[in-house]
């Protein structure tokens, strides 16, 4: 594992992506402490004012400081991303690991996963949000339901391969119980594809949250999220480019950095790219 970590650090994509993402996360975390402007304070005289030293990102259609709103939006977007990634990882790991050891359960769980995966992700999320109503928690629940099947599939397929390795039989010969074999020996061997998939789920969750908020099904105004700033900005796109540019740049930067990091991690953890 240590060697893998070193290999990941030698990968340019992983390092660049990781650094950009950490920077965004840091801004989301400490930004509101440094830039203390109230993101919800309306100043009608400043409606749609262009970027200036007092308001570096300009102001929106209610005269609210856009920088403050993008920073707060980062908290929401990344918060949703983290929560969805954690929920998806935990569920995917448990479902995938159990599925590989119980044939009947495997059939039931995988058919449910197939069913969920056959519906386009955003469509499924929209349907779930329409059912549950718009709120941050519902966004997290809906996106977790959308992304768990692919995670469970990846864990299961890798676990199926590991399960056939001779060392699993060797453990059985030593009298190890199935639970011990699965959780202590198979699960650590599943970590590489699992971690890579987790970074992609994170990126997709950020993107989907923005999409849902853009469509008015996610985070509701006046709470800021990158998606609903874009939504407000699209009406005034010709007059106020900054309303579109800054939240879009934030979405692109975070999704791109996560994908870069995930690709780098995959290359680093893939044993086939070991010696080069």
């Amino acid at each position: 594992m240590m060697a893998n970590f070193k290999k990941a650090l030698a990968n340019k994509g992983f390092v660049v992506g990781g650094c950009i993402f950490l920077a965004i996360a840091l801004i989301a975390l400490v930004g509101p402490l440094v830039w203390t402007v109230n993101p919800n304070a309306q100043e009608m005289t400043l409606r749609l004012s262009a970027p200036s030293p007092a308001h570096p990102f300009g102001c929106d259609d209610f005269g609210r400081d856009l920088l403050a709103r993008v920073i707060v939006g980062a908290r929401v977007s990344l918060g949703v991303g983290i929560a969805v990634t954690l929920a998806t990882s935990a569920l995917g790991l448990v479902i995938g690991a159990y599925a590989c050891y119980n044939e009947r359960l495997d059939h039931i769980l995988m058919r449910i996963c197939d069913g969920l995966m056959s519906i386009p992700g955003v469509l499924l999320a929209i349907a779930l949000m329409a059912m549950m109503g718009a709120s941050v928690w519902n966004v997290i629940i809906a996106l977790s339901i959308v992304y768990t099947p692919s995670m469970a599939r990846i864990v299961r397929s890798r676990a199926m391969v590991v399960k056939e390795e001779p060392f699993v039989e060797a453990l059985r010969v030593q009298g190890a119980s199935t639970a011990r074999i699965v959780w202590l020996h198979i699960v650590p061997n599943v970590m590489a594809p699992f971690l890579v998939q987790a970074t992609f789920v994170f990126a997709e969750a950020v993107l989907s949250e923005a999409a849902l908020s853009f469509l008015g099904l996610g985070i509701k105004a006046p709470d800021a999220s990158w998606g609903n700033i874009l939504q407000a900005g699209k009406n005034v796109m010709r007059k106020a480019w900054w309303m579109i540019f800054f939240p879009a740049a934030a979405i692109i930067a975070s999704v791109l950095s996560l994908n870069l990091a995930g690709d780098g991690l995959r290359d680093a953890l893939d044993p086939k790219t070991k010696e080069d």
Binding site: P166, V173, Q174, G175, S177
Partner: protein, 331 residues
């Protein structure tokens, strides 16, 4: 009751398919091992020797529906009568097993030391420190030099021979009375092979651990075992003491196997002797003597009627009609 440590009586092992059809892999196998004895089983690939070894541990039932007949009596208890769930208490504790491929028999993402510690703690409740000390002494016992320094290394840092030593150390952790070695030296080069065989022989004599040694390598088997069973298509066709196997095999199959060993000395031969034909699949087992279609000396009776295991002398047995006629050149 039986005084043997392991007494296998009339064991038949079948794989049961999804459609309910059974495929018999081992037929009427009789074999016994006494405490402290090294007994060998040899045969070509697919003759059922590994299936037999795994059945003693009842490993196959976890993956596959199996049907057993006969008995596998270990220390007076029929293992086949046990509920599968309680086999865990036997595995590693009374009977341990090592495998052919030491390269993949260790968990690649766990340190070697941690895996041996786990094996130690699997059978006895001991503290971390005590388990670590015992693991260290086990590693030293199996000849890993500088065990303390290598304790926290990963399996990928170990050579094949060292990994097999680690496997043996893990097998020893439960102080088993029987070790099943399923082709333990096949994946190793000859020098390492010799070292591992020496280690097994040493453990056998010092700890009194019986060994069931499974291999396709006649040389290896005769060098380590006291008695050897030759298997063909799921049946034992010859049981003979190890020295006798090379000198006076009575079954034509055993003779064929020995004749096909390339000579190390003398003039180089262009074509090696072999046994004509191939091992038929389990779905097309010939009637009569199973070896008859490939046997140069087979006659009508061989093709029609299955021979019993004849006693050749006090301890050797052979499943061939020639023995009855007194025509095999072993007797």
């Amino acid at each position: 009751m039986s005084e043997h440590l392991l007494d296998v009586r009339d064991l038949c092992i079948s794989f049961v398919g999804r459609d309910g059809n059974a495929l018999e892999a081992v037929n009427k196998l009789n074999l016994h091992i006494d405490a402290g004895e090294i007994v060998g089983v040899v045969g070509e690939s697919g003759c059922g020797k590994s299936v037999f070894a795994q059945s003693v541990m009842r490993l196959l039932e976890h993956e596959q529906k199996m049907a057993y007949e006969g008995q596998i009596v270990f220390d007076g208890e029929d293992l086949l009568a046990r509920p599968l769930k309680t086999m865990r208490k036997v595995r590693g504790c009374d009977i341990a097993m090592i495998f052919q491929d030491p390269l993949s028999s260790l968990n690649p993402v766990m340190t070697v030391g941690a895996q041996v510690v786990e094996a130690v703690r699997a059978h006895r409740k001991v503290g971390r420190r005590e388990a670590r000390n015992e693991a260290l002494s086990l590693l030293e016992r199996v000849g890993i030099r500088d065990a303390a320094a290598r304790f926290d290394m990963y399996p990928s840092d170990f050579s094949g021979g060292m990994r097999q030593r680690v496997m043996i150390a893990m097998a020893l952790a439960g102080h088993p009375r029987l070790l099943i070695a399923d082709e333990p030296t096949t994946a190793l080069d000859t020098t390492t092979q010799k070292q591992i065989l020496d280690l097994l022989r040493d453990l056998n004599s010092s700890e009194g651990m019986a060994v069931l040694f499974i291999s396709h390598d006649l040389g290896v088997v005769t060098s380590i075992c006291s008695r050897v069973h030759v298997m063909y298509l799921g049946q034992i066709v010859e049981e003979i003491d190890a020295c006798g196997l090379m000198e006076r095999p009575s079954h034509p199959y055993a003779q064929g196997l020995i004749a096909s060993i390339p000579p190390l000395e003398g003039e180089r031969v262009d074509t090696l002797a072999d046994i004509p034909g191939t091992v038929p699949p389990l779905t097309a087992i010939p009637c009569g003597c199973r070896f008859a279609p490939r046997c140069a000396r087979a006659d009508e009776r061989c093709r029609a009627q299955e021979p019993p295991l004849f006693a050749v002398n006090a301890c050797d047995r052979s499943k061939c009609w020639l023995v009855e006629k007194g025509e095999c050149h072993g007797c």
